[in-house]
Symmetry: C2
Subunit: 298 residues, 2 copies
Amino acid sequence: MNLNLIKRFGHFLAIVEEGNFGRAAARLGMSQPPLTAHIQALEHALGVRLLERSHSGTRPTWEGEALLPAVRRLEEAARAVEALAREVKLGRRELITVGCITSAVFGTLPPIVRAFRAARPDTVVSVKEMDTTDAVEALRRGELDVAFARLERDRPPIRTLQITPDELIAALPDSHGLAASAVVDLAALEGQPMIVLPRSISPAYFDGLTAACRAAGFAPVAALEVNSAMAQLALVASGLGVALVSAGMARLAPPGVAFRQLASPVAAVGIAVAWNAERENDAIRAMLGIAQGIKTET
Amino acid sequence: MNLNLIKRFGHFLAIVEEGNFGRAAARLGMSQPPLTAHIQALEHALGVRLLERSHSGTRPTWEGEALLPAVRRLEEAARAVEALAREVKLGRRELITVGCITSAVFGTLPPIVRAFRAARPDTVVSVKEMDTTDAVEALRRGELDVAFARLERDRPPIRTLQITPDELIAALPDSHGLAASAVVDLAALEGQPMIVLPRSISPAYFDGLTAACRAAGFAPVAALEVNSAMAQLALVASGLGVALVSAGMARLAPPGVAFRQLASPVAAVGIAVAWNAERENDAIRAMLGIAQGIKTET
DNA sequence: CATGACGATAGTTTTTGCCTATCATCATCC
DNA sequence: GGATGATGATAGGCAAAAACTATCGTCATG
């Protein structure tokens, strides 16, 4: 899309919020006729009618309504940039921000955070749950100081230190026939509807899963794609399919889900602590030391 | 922020990715001097220097790096608007989209989805984990058909039907002194550092928590604010504080966390099924019927 | 039936964004 | 050490875009 159109979505939003072109124009600091032209141009460019005009005012069409959440997120994203720009002007605060993937949130993170707090009681620890891809990006850009994520190698300037090996296990609806077994042969999952996360969330997990199924002689049938590990397990619990998940997810013991080890263990990319080598500071080094110490003790 | 600047953030991003103004200009289909002017205008508008110019190229300043994640999200939001506009032109697909808050993902949702699938095997069910505020907004805009969230009343045109009552329980680090007791007096949590979610995620939960603490004679000490229920429990497991959570969260049994009932039960806003009355269709009515039937059976 | 409000059209003016030409500076190579 | 090329900045001009005002067409209201 031409970024020139983005401005017009702001106009569109103003009209929806004001309920008519005249008030929206006033709010935007312009007169009403050019606003009309902007919306006409936007509708033409999209090939969609966004607004229902009447003599008592204007409201969005079904298509306009459908776009509004995305347009509002766009506006929110713009506000976030602005807010961050103001904050950046004021300089960094004394904290360490830690990202963590869902499957490591209970296994890997708590002992490390406990030890770090004991070592540096004055440093504020901010924890954010996010997926591997987002974590790498956030490290690169300085939004995170450290992340616990599923990474198998450095991504300069991102350095990694392996903390925990991992393996894939099967998550089955507890009413599933295979749940009666203590272990499950991966090949037995051929043809089963599989609940998956998009590859973009964790490429290493996704590729590992696909490779394991291929090695077992079949391609996984992706019945449903969901936006989070919690939703994935919820659908398994709902009986909609099976999933291959990190062993760490079993710690949550959600009702309705039976976790079974695979007869032939399938290594998954383990949990690593990652950080941006160009941004090392004392707090980061302290956390790395603790993470390494915990690895050695295991 | 005025969405006018978005175009210039696109320019900024192109320069960072290309490493110099000339290549970025070529990529943007323009010449180099106006690109220089755009970035100068952007830096002036933000009051921040974004780029370090040198004769071997250009790279972002610390401030520019800090803004990049937010700028990328802005660009992603713009792409999402574009993609959605294309999809909107093609019309709706035959599916029902269901939003669900984390605490209901295992208790409330799986039996309903199982029954719905049995009743309507041809309708695709798409589940998205999200918080109450996002769910209401998504319903309003047609992004969700139905949501299971913490709501206590209608928000026309959003209708609600109470499904599950709920209560607050204490989540304590399992090393905590109070964890030895089977039940916990809420007043015993006075002065304890509390891990909280921002009010914006679920106003009903937040206000209920605050009111309960006030009724017990103290104001909660919000030691840390986190972005997800998982992160909240992870910090409890880390020993950083206690939390008051929905009884539904105890179904997850995360390690390191002890859930204790409160000596005087504190009702929390229960889980309701919500839908947009202006968008009812057969699939939605079917799911409402199932949800209501499950409520009656409980 | 008159009036006011709403959005659209038309013509004009102003502003913006682009162009090319050129400059200043620095790094590299001979 | 000087020539050369690359990088980003400045300056002036031009075309397109975006704004203005004036006005129109339509509909609801009093």
